[in-house]
Amino acid sequence: MIEIERVNHYYGPSSMRRQVLFDVSATVAGGEIVLLTGPSGSGKSTLLSLIGALRSAQQGSLRVLGEELCGASADTLIRVRRQVGYIFQKHNLFDCLTALQNVELCLGLHGAQRSTARRRATEVLDAVGLAAYLDRYPYQLSGGQQQRVAIARALAPRPRLILADEPTAALDSVSGGEVAERIRELAKQEGCAAVVVTHDQRILRIADRILDMEDGRLQASEVRRLAA
């Protein structure tokens, strides 16, 4: 699903170039839930944005969903993005659209018909426990509920890969735990892999595997398989 081989990444113009990723290699198999942890500034988010085809990779080899992203064209990046479900720290929902419409909008991108999109959006929102909140606007929902709408939005098009960046950072422990549990549950249910960047010690239990990053380097990966 994801094969990362000796990836280096730099920011800034050549004269002030700063390396943020050093020789990173890792693989993620289908259906696997991998947590990426490490102190801030260690390069976690950069690695995630490379995997998610939000930036083009510069050096090394990065294969995601069968596409080589190193030096890939904008079209390839967009094609990969469409097969990925993203969950962000900030939910970035449209305040002018209801929970249902926010999910439908995303489904529209995948060419779904109106009725199909509505059915699927309702189904996914139901799965994250928001069946009673379909017509609420984001500002009428709690932080945890907003994040669950964002999860529904990410999962609605049935992505093969979920990428999440600090999905619980803005939430209290109860809703954080709940959100993490939903991600795990739905990933397993839909059979897709997930890479979750987090600082949150409380959600480590959802991981099949934990990768530690420090100073742009991947530490010897620590495998903590959970009893299912």
Partner: protein, 390 residues
């Protein structure tokens, strides 16, 4: 990728505009402002051009002879009456009628103030003008120094419609002669003409002693039914010497309007007003669309992150531009409907809101909104999908 297939099933563009009601209203008002300004400018311009050819529109004939030196209605450029007589021999011509005109100072009977009046002379038995009530009153001009007066002339001439309706004979001085008004007709004013009167050829020649008999200003040619006026015009033009110009009535109208468009700053003045309206409206629309994009930059970046192309996001802003154009245009046209009536009343100009003008202004409004939208879109490009992971 089509705009609707990417953005449906949710009309994001509309929801985003409707979210900020005040801002939406301001944007629509901006477009309305531009539409009203442009429609009024066009309305006045078209009315001025239309007013310049009021007489031409009423000519009862298909082909017209004028002097090549003719510039506009108001400056006499006479040519030989014989040219008009020559035309009679053409088989398609059923009749001809001469028209004389010139300008003389008219003395306001109440104030004594003089003002230039257009004096038109036609054959009392064969009116070459389709004006209501003219045919039956024209016979009165056989009496020496008797005129019919245009009741739509400016009020400064001191001939009120009430007096004309009362049928009282009104006496004043025109040029150096004493004249009598014995009836009226309705024609209307233009740039060059504040008012007019119609009389017979003999009174006309007495009023303008320097005008020679046998020189006329407009020669009207009537054609037999079924004759092709363009073909006849071309044949007459080929037969006649170059000291006359042969035009169809439509060609005469076009020539008069071209004179005003080319020799006066009218076109420029109104174009300037229109451009100003479009610029101000465009800036307002740009600001609103720009703020909409800027405020939703994280959301736009998110959409990009999940695979929306720049094109699809452009589509959202383009739809917003379209909505604003349509809404502003609708309100603007409704407003102008009333404003045209008010202005027509105040200026005596023939203000008319035509479908062509409406269509043109809608295209301009659309162009204005799309330009503003395109400018706001530069901001969408700046939505970096990678920033949402920062």
């Amino acid at each position: 990728m089509s705009l609707w297939s990417t953005v449906s099933p949710v009309p994001l563009a509309w929801h985003q505009l409707a979210e900020q009601r005040v801002r939406f209203a301001v944007a629509v008002l901006g477009v309305t402002f531009a539409v009203v300004l442009v429609l009024m400018q066009l309305g006045f311009r078209n009315a001025l051009y239309a007013s310049a050819v009021r007489l031409h529109e009423h000519l009862a004939g298909d082909v017209v002879l004028i002097s090549p030196k003719y510039s506009y209605l108001g400056v006499s450029a006479p040519f030989s009456h014989r040219r008009l007589q020559q035309v009679r021999s053409h088989p398609a011509v059923s009749g001809v009628a001469p028209i004389w005109f010139d300008v003389a100072p008219w003395k306001n009977p109440d104030t004594g103030m003089a003002r230039n009046l257009l004096v038109i002379a036609v054959d009392p038995v064969d009116a070459p003008l389709h004006l209501e009530g003219l045919a039956e009153r024209l016979g009165r001009t056989r009496v020496s120094d008797t005129l019919l007066f245009d009741s739509a002339s400016r009020s400064e001439f001191g001939v009120s419609p009430a007096v004309l309706r009362s049928g009282r004979r009104l006496t004043t001085e025109l040029g150096a002669r004493r004249v009598f008004v014995d009836g009226s007709y309705v024609l209307g004013t233009s740039f060059a003409v504040d008012g007019s009167a119609i009389t017979g050829p003999s009174t006309f020649l007495r009023l303008f002693p320097n005008r020679r008999e046998g020189l006329i200003d407009i020669g009207l040619v009537r054609l037999r039914p079924g004759a092709d006026e363009d073909a006849v015009r071309a044949e007459l033009a080929a037969e006649l010497p170059k000291d006359v110009e042969v035009l169809t009535r439509a060609g005469f109208i076009a020539r008069e309007q071209t004179y005003w468009a080319a020799n006066t700053p009218i076109g420029y003045v109104f174009a300037f007003g229109m451009v100003m309206g479009l610029v101000v409206g465009g800036v307002i629309v740009y600001l609103v669309l720009f703020v909409n994009v800027a405020e939703h930059l994280p959301q736009f970046a998110t959409l990009k992150a999940i695979g929306f192309t720049d094109g699809a996001l452009f589509g959202v802003v383009a739809q917003q531009a379209l909505i604003l154009a349509a809404a502003g245009f609708t309100v603007g046209v409704l407003l102008c409907h009333g404003l045209y009536a008010v202005s027509a009343n105040a200026t005596q100009l023939p203000m008319e809101l035509t479908v062509e003008t409406g269509a043109l202004v809608f295209m301009l409004a659309l162009l204005m909104c799309c330009t503003s939208g395109a400018a706001a879109l530069l901001k969408v490009r700046a939505a970096d999908p990678a920033e949402v992971f920062a």
